[in-house]
């Protein structure tokens, strides 16, 4: 019996393999430049052009530029990686035009990396090799500490860091394949060989053969490749990345988002081909259920169950929708995945379509993400041209097609029934559930709506099995979650960690702690629908239930770090203003409730709070939670309730003492000049927009409190800390 799907997949990989081989990257120097919205904003396009100019001028044919998506290391963009065959890749941070010239002349032409500008530089020594020890906390078996032993061995033999560097990494995700022995996985770079070590003899052989002679040890090679091999190979040495476990983001920053060949070369569409070859949609659903994959949009509903429900419907006209209406302020993981690894999301959608028996799928993407829209459209076009979308996909007889529908700036459209209305061309107002969309959704037919990140995980689960995925997470939720780390934190960016990782690890170990040496006050998760986790609870494990218990939610994964400088009442007011403006106005509790809550919060921050306001806030919030029509209204009071719960003192200080402890609320502060410190430089007076600062040169100045608008300019510009905010 002929098996059309494997044949089709074979010809696809052959085609991709040939295209990759023709490029002959193995013998060329690759300059990798990121290309996504953040990178463009930081100037990566100019950098790429400049490199191109340098390459042309040099006349060298063995240097190529490789475009990739976003690695998620936002605060250090633009990042450029130089890969010389046989060497470890060297990455540079905050590259500008001048640095391009230096990198090109010193590193590429002169073989001497510009060590001063290396990403997260820890030492000036460029090592020949690197060994990464997997130290994933979940699967770490009791046994000898191989890494410590290896470091000791290096010391005994006086092998220095220029020869080999030892790095500890979090979970490789190969846990399932080790077969019970007490062993450790070690990734040797730049050879990209994964070793499995279970004794000291193994370790010695690795050192003597691989490290000292450069001869790989066949005997110790692991059978399976870790899922994020390519990612680890390129970025594994950087602490920001190797504390992460990348599954959904495994190709981000590795693959060219506009190249089908590169995606296929990284085992792209392998999961789809297996799913289609088995001709068993229930297998897909059972793997997802085993994986304990839960909706990454925030609801946390089991994806396997949802797909199963849609599949059981009698109506055979069914739809699948990818929710890319990422409206939460402070969340940008969906944009990054759509821009950096679009084929993976498309593959997840096709698999989903097959599993539930849909004929058509829709990407609903917000219009504010032009690059994501462009890349997804390109991916869809490529897939159509190669028989991966349209009629008879991969020769399996399955017909399915995808199209993009644009959002138009309405936060409520992230709610599934509102999103359906919007695709239908209506005002995006939610409907009462049930019926749930899996029963009656788009145009009245069964519809599955999943978040971008959910789809990003699907192909990985099918390739590595549901059990493997479940092992990475917690009891109740499998796998990893991507967080968008932003706010007052040293390293902002995208962080993918196993569910169950502590907040503190994300913020302190990966994020590098609070910026400016300030104290951590709280971590906000879940955007306007979420709440605050106070610093005292930072050892909490990140998962759906613990977050909910603390009065917050997982949400789509925004994580905003707040420092001692932030006023909780003010931030709660910020979120309430957001929800109030985004309320669609259909139901009264949400429309009126958010407005009144906002009024009370405004009153409090203006110093006009009344003693009974806290009770009123409580009552209104509960009412809004209980009686609103959709998730927006039900979740809108969360920031208020959780800030009252954890930071009641701050509210009381505002209401009773008319004092803002964080000195943020303009109405409750004023500025004074400390006469002893003021040297009379006149800078403050010159920068005052209302000219309320008076004083002669070289004499202490005075602020006219009546005229002062409290803009804070003087406070910011004074170089002598002579202005006090009280």
């Amino acid at each position: 019996m002929s098996r059309p799907v494997p044949d089709f997949y074979q010809s696809l990989t052959d085609l991709a393999g040939k295209a990759i081989k023709d490029r002959d990257l193995g013998n060329k120097i690759t300059i990798q430049v990121g290309s996504a919205t953040c990178e463009h904003a930081a100037g990566s396009q100019v950098i790429a052009e400049e490199f191109l100019r340098q390459i042309r001028a040099s006349g060298r044919k063995d240097i190529v530029i490789h475009r990739t998506g976003c690695t998620g290391r936002c605060s250090r963009e633009p990042i450029v990686s130089v890969q010389v065959p046989g060497r470890l890749p060297v990455k540079y941070e905050r590259v500008n035009r001048d640095l391009v010239f230096r990198i090109f002349s010193e590193h590429i032409q002169g073989d001497a990396p510009v060590t001063k500008h290396i990403l997260d530089r820890t030492s000036d020594v460029i090592s020949e090799r690197e060994l990464m020890f997997c130290e994933g906390s979940r699967c770490r078996r009791p046994g000898p500490d191989f890494r410590a032993r290896f470091i000791a061995m290096l010391k005994e033999r006086a092998v220095g860091p220029e020869k080999v560097r030892v790095v500890a990494s979090s979970c490789f995700g190969s846990c399932g394949v080790s077969g019970g022995k007490a062993s450790t996985f070690i990734l040797a770079r730049p050879e990209k060989i994964l070793y499995q070590i279970s004794s000291e003899e193994d370790l010695t052989e690795l050192l003597e053969s691989h490290v000292l002679l450069g001869l790989p040890v066949e005997r110790l090679k692991a059978k399976e490749e870790p899922i994020a091999l390519e990612f680890l190979e390129r970025y594994g040495d950087v602490a920001f990345f190797n504390h992460q476990s990348r599954i959904a983001l495994r190709n981000a920053g590795v693959v060219d988002p506009e190249s089908l060949e590169e995606y296929v070369a990284l085992d792209g569409f392998k999961a789809l081909s297996e799913a289609l070859d088995r001709r068993d949609p229930d297998w897909i659903i059972s793997e997802l259920t085993k994986a304990r994959l839960r909706g990454r949009g925030g609801g946390g509903f089991s994806t396997g169950t949802k797909w199963g429900l849609a599949r059981k419907q009698a109506d055979t006209t069914r739809f699948i929708i990818c929710n890319g209406d990422e409206g939460d302020p402070g969340a940008f993981m969906d944009r990054s995945m759509l821009e950096s690894d679009p084929f993976n999301i498309v593959e997840g959608m096709i698999i989903g379509g097959y599993a539930i028996g849909a004929q058509r799928g829709f990407f609903y993407i917000r219009a504010e993400y032009p690059l994501a829209i462009k890349r997804i459209q390109l991916a869809i076009d490529h897939c159509r041209a190669h028989g991966l979308l349209g009629k008879d996909i991969m020769g399996s007889g399955f017909d399915f097609d995808l199209e993009i529908r644009l959002g138009a700036g309405a936060f409520v459209c992230g709610e599934e029934t509102a999103l359906i209305r919007s695709i239908e061309g209506e005002r995006g107002q939610p409907k009462v559930r049930p019926p749930y969309p899996t029963d009656r959704g788009l145009w009245g037919h069964p519809t599955c709506i999943n978040n971008v990140e959910t789809f990003a995980n699907v192909s990985a689960i099918l390739r590595y099995s549901g059990d493997w995925y479940a092992r990475i997470g917690t009891e109740r939720s499998g796998g990893t979650k991507v967080f968008a780390l932003a706010g007052k934190v040293v390293h902002t960016g995208l962080v993918e960690v196993p569910l169950g990782t502590t907040l503190s690890k994300v913020v302190n170990d990966i994020g590098g702690g609070v910026s400016g040496g300030k104290q951590l006050k709280a971590i906000q998760t879940g955007g306007p629908a979420g709440g605050f986790i106070p610093a005292s609870m930072q050892d909490m494990e990140v998962d759906f239930e613990p977050l909910q218990k603390a009065g917050s939610i997982m949400g789509s994964g925004g994580m905003i770090v707040l420092s001692e400088d932030d006023c909780m009442v003010d931030i709660a007011k910020f979120y309430m203003a957001f929800s109030q403006e985004e309320s669609c106005g259909k139901c009264t509790p949400c429309r009126e409730g958010t407005t009144r809550i906002l009024e009370i919060l405004e009153r409090i921050t203006l110093g006009k709070g009344q003693p009974e306001d806290l009770d009123k806030l409580h009552r209104l919030s509960r009412l809004c939670q209980r009686t609103s029509l959709c998730g927006l209204g039900r979740a809108a009071p969360n920031p208020v309730l959780s800030s009252i719960k954890h930071f009641r003192d701050e509210y009381l200080a505002h209401i009773h003492d008319k004092h803002c402890p964080a000195k943020k609320c303009v109405a409750l502060i004023h500025y004074e000049i400390i006469a002893e410190k003021c040297i009379g430089c006149t800078v403050c007076a010159r920068n005052c927009p209302v000219e309320c600062i008076s004083g002669a040169r070289k004499e202490a100045h005075v602020i006219d409190q009546q005229a002062c608008i409290k803009c804070g300019n003087c406070f910011d510009v004074c170089k002598f800390a002579a202005i006090d905010r009280v």
């Binding site: 904003a41 402070g330 959002g407 985004e582």
Partner: protein
């Protein structure tokens, strides 16, 4: 919805008038969609195209869309006013969008916005007298790592301090002046 458009006697004449209000590619898009099932679901996409072409949605555009797509004008207006992304007023050459997402907010977006307002002499929703800049605020452009950011046209700028605002505006003024010179150059010849 029936394929035949109208019961009015002067429909051909009306249709000509409405067709004259929209550019060719959008007319082609509408015609193509009318062949499809559930063509009214393409309303938002159509409005996106018109705004992309003209920069805003004028009353005439909405009426033309309603007539040509055979959707009630009330619905077209309802949709156009529901979504924040659609603008019903013309705007300046460069639209400045100040991101007021959480990350930008805690990192001082308001001060940047204040500086923009001071420099341009306009508030949110207004256009500068020379017609070059319009100022709007937006909810999170998704580049939180660079906070605080503003978007001018399609370009994202960040992290910004209020002090950088004048230089940034000047660069766009220079660009606008260049465009103007380029546009008038052929006439001079």
């Amino acid at each position: 919805m029936s394929a035949c458009c109208s019961s009015t006697d002067n429909w051909p004449e009306l249709e000509r008038g409405y067709r004259a209000m929209l550019p060719e590619d959008i007319l082609a898009f509408i015609d193509e969609n009318r062949q499809m099932d559930r063509s009214e679901s393409m309303l938002i996409a159509t409005l996106h195209m018109i705004q992309g072409h003209y920069g805003h949605l004028g009353p005439g555009h909405l009426e033309a869309v309603a007539q040509l797509m055979q959707v009630p004008l009330a619905k077209v207006t309802g949709v156009a006013t529901f979504y924040h992304y659609f603008r019903l007023q013309p705007r300046g050459k460069y639209l400045i969008n100040v991101c007021l997402g959480t990350a930008c907010y805690v990192k001082g977006a308001e001060k940047v916005a204040q500086k923009l307002m001071d420099e341009l002499g306009i508030r949110y929703g207004e256009t500068s007298k020379d017609g070059i800049f319009s100022l709007e605020s937006t909810r999170c452009v998704g580049t939180c790592g660079l906070a605080p950011v503003i978007m001018i046209g399609d370009e994202v700028h960040g992290p910004l301090t209020p002090g950088q605002v004048p230089t940034l505006l000047d660069s766009y003024l220079a660009r606008a002046a260049e465009d103007l010179a380029a546009a008038s150059a052929p006439e001079a010849r």
